[in-house]
């Protein structure tokens, strides 16, 4: 079935812009990205939109649909009524380049600052060995497609531009957790997690987990465990003392 969908799309650039109304044809089984593409093909040839896979795997088509951070290619038109007005805006946490395309460099800058994987020496036969149970936790985080929707929704930076300096955002707190839990990694990242990447800024309100298209339990499985590890290192006198006198290696 074909119908006329009502779209409200933000058009503009860093100097300003506005929401504009369009009526675009929509067909059965389509997703919002299909309709945005049709809008580009038929009425707004210069509409800027970023996409690659149309399969929820490249993380390019992040936007906000009716105010909720989502992948355009994973949002079915069938979730809306035919007479709903569907509002599509760029992510509101990052500087806009044009129309639906934002500048997400903040995320790459944070990624580059994280101390890299630092493996312990190889075994005598020259191999690194680890067991499946030991890497299962970090593996969940490897599902990340770097869509940065979690970074977009996180109120710590969304509502407070200044915090971008001191807060790495959920995606990269998860990276710190991944490395800190890694069975072969030798670096203690607990102190930097708190002091340089701002895990204490997160108030565990779980919006990152709510929007993650990969369904990663960012808060429960990465950030809270990281907070607990930071407590071991910085706030818990007993665990700290245990580590000092060598009763409790960080292993």
């Amino acid at each position: 079935m074909t119908y006329d969908a009502k779209l409200r799309v933000w058009r503009g650039d860093a100097d300003g812009g506005e929401l504009r109304d369009f009526t675009v044809e929509a067909n059965d089984g389509e997703v919002v990205l299909d309709v945005i593409h049709r809008l580009q093909a038929t009425q707004a040839g210069d509409l800027a939109v970023r996409w690659n896979c149309k399969a929820g795997k490249c993380g390019s088509c992040s936007a906000e649909i009716n105010g909720r951070p989502r992948l355009m290619c994973l949002t079915r038109m069938s979730t809306f009524a035919e007479d709903d007005v569907i509002t599509v805006t760029p992510m509101r946490t990052f500087p806009v380049i044009r129309d639906l395309v934002t500048d997400v460099s903040y995320n790459y800058e944070k990624a580059a600052q994280i101390p890299a994987f630092t493996p312990q020496p190889r075994d005598a036969d020259g191999n690194h060995r680890m067991q499946q149970v030991d890497v299962e936790r970090p593996q969940e985080f490897r599902k990340c497609i770097e869509c940065f929707l979690c970074q977009d929704v996180c109120h710590v930076v969304r509502d407070h531009e200044d915090n971008k300096k001191v807060f790495a955002g959920p995606r990269f707190l998860m990276r710190l957790a991944e490395l800190d839990m890694h069975p072969l990694d030798n670096l203690d990242r607990r102190k930097v997690s708190q002091e340089n990447f701002g895990v204490g800024m997160c108030n565990i309100t779980k919006c990152c987990s709510e929007v993650c298209p990969e369904g990663i339990h960012i808060t429960d499985n990465a950030i809270i465990p990281l907070k607990e590890r930071v407590v071991d290192r910085k706030y818990d006198p007993i665990t700290w003392l245990g580590a000092k006198i060598g009763r409790r290696p960080h292993s």
């Binding site: 105010g67 509101r92 509502d159 204490g200 800024m201 930071v230």
Partner: protein
């Protein structure tokens, strides 16, 4: 609802897409925080009244969870050793409520719940918070949320005591074993829910095994961690159900103590 509050500095920061609305969400995002406020306020009001009532908390052989462990000489009942006598304006509940209160106040789940619903930080995802400044849990007083694990451990002691109370409720009003009433089941259910709430705690998950990086070298702790992780996925549900459990258990004891109802006796 969506456009009455002007957009705070946040999403209006220079360079971002110029959109005035605080949120473009079209669903009823305020329902969830509103319910949370309603339930928590009701609980706080009820438990405050009960903590100061200083009566109707004990009726053979049941004691209300708000007053257990009952540690002063002013206590009714014999469920716990009487350790000291305090001034009469302090009820026995007031000495002990700090533990369950601190436990729940610093709980990762309740933090989420009240940061969202009372602090509006944020009220819902992608809805701008009203305040301009934000430092999260990095400074006084919120940095003290990091003591949660100590409250967790104290909470375990309380769970043990409330379980003991449930066991004592298998005695009849003359202290003979072999009694069971509806109240016994109520106390047992309450204790069970409290254990489920405590064992599903994030700090518990960390302590039993989460802090390790090599599960394969600690098979027992890995099994504990796996079990706690399963419970942990339902922590929110346990948090609410056990909260209702405590309030309803107290209410049941109060209704018995005031003679409003009589206990259904099985044997």
């Amino acid at each position: 609802m969506t456009t009455t509050v002007p957009a705070p500095a946040g999403t209006g920061a220079p360079g971002r897409a110029t959109i005035a609305a605080r949120t473009l969400r079209t669903d009823r995002w305020w329902v969830q925080p509103a319910i949370t406020v309603g339930v928590l306020v009701a609980f706080i009001v009820y438990s405050t009244i009960r903590a100061f009532e200083n009566a109707n908390y004990y009726v053979e052989p049941y004691i209300s969870p708000f007053y257990s462990p009952c540690i002063t000489t002013a206590c009714q009942g014999d469920t716990f050793p009487k350790l000291f006598s305090g001034p009469s304006f302090l009820t026995p509940a007031l000495y002990i409520l700090i533990v369950p209160l601190g436990f729940r106040l610093t709980c990762y789940y309740y933090r989420k719940a009240y940061y969202r619903s009372f602090w509006l930080s944020p009220p819902a995802c992608a809805v701008a918070e009203p305040r301009a400044g934000y430092s999260g849990e990095t400074r006084f007083p919120l940095v003290f949320q990091n003591v949660h694990r100590y409250f967790f451990l104290l909470g375990l002691v309380f769970n043990a005591i409330l379980t003991y109370d449930a066991v004592l409720s298998f005695r009849d009003h003359e202290g003979r074993w072999g009694h069971m009433g509806l109240g016994t089941l109520v106390l047992l259910a309450n204790a069970t829910l409290l254990w489920l709430y405590s064992l599903s705690c994030h700090s518990c998950r960390h302590i039993v095994g989460g802090r390790l990086n090599n599960f394969s070298r600690h098979p027992m702790r890995y099994r504990f961690w796996t079990l706690v992780s399963k419970l942990n996925a339902r922590h929110m549900q346990f948090a609410w159900v056990s909260l209702f459990g405590v309030a309803l258990t107290d209410l049941y004891v109060r209704l018995l103590a005031t003679g409003t109802i009589t206990d259904l006796r099985f044997f």
